[in-house]
Assembly symmetry: C2
Homo-oligomer: 105 residues x 2
């Protein structure tokens, strides 16, 4: 399934809820699911891991619908067969991009 | 582009970095990007918003590659043309699912 098709399917299933909840509330759900993904990774539970990856992508699509972003378009505009920083595939970046994000050490 | 094609493209560009960084470090990057998405939403900057949605999806795909999850498969297994809770499209759920997540009020 194309990324835009998935986003459209999420719109058909959830937009009546998502638009009422708004960007802030939908973002909080996304954060909640990202936290649950962490628990699933640490718990090494395959079924929970599958569920949580699905939920994070679903809530990301819901949030994109609420704020009017086409996920596939913006992602392909930035990551089109190469790293947007070094313009290479595979990525040749050697700096902080490959390590942990700032402030997370 | 199919979800699995995007995930595979991320593998080709970044897996040498992602596998070395590991699940925990890659998860921290995902969290960092989710936080930047919040700033972009609050800042109402269209270009930043597009960039951050792309980054969150990219890091989610990287993390899925590290832990061996096929994003498209698990998402379609859970969200296949209907809400997994009420089995309807549009979703007919009336409970907490439609409000803010627990502990976030």
């Amino acid at each position: 399934m194309h990324v835009y098709e998935f986003q459209d399917m999420m719109r058909q299933i959830y937009f009546h809820h998502d638009s009422k909840r708004g960007a802030e509330g939908t973002y909080l759900w996304l954060v909640e699911e990202v936290e649950e993904l962490d628990e699933a990774i640490k718990g090494r539970d395959k079924k929970a891991l599958e569920d949580e990856f699905a939920d994070v992508l679903a809530w990301l699509a819901s949030l994109a619908n609420v704020v009017g972003i086409n996920l596939e378009e913006v992602t392909m505009a930035k990551y089109n067969q190469k790293c947007p920083k070094c313009q290479s595939k595979p990525c040749q970046c050697t700096q902080s991009f490959t390590a942990l994000p700032l402030g997370q050490h």
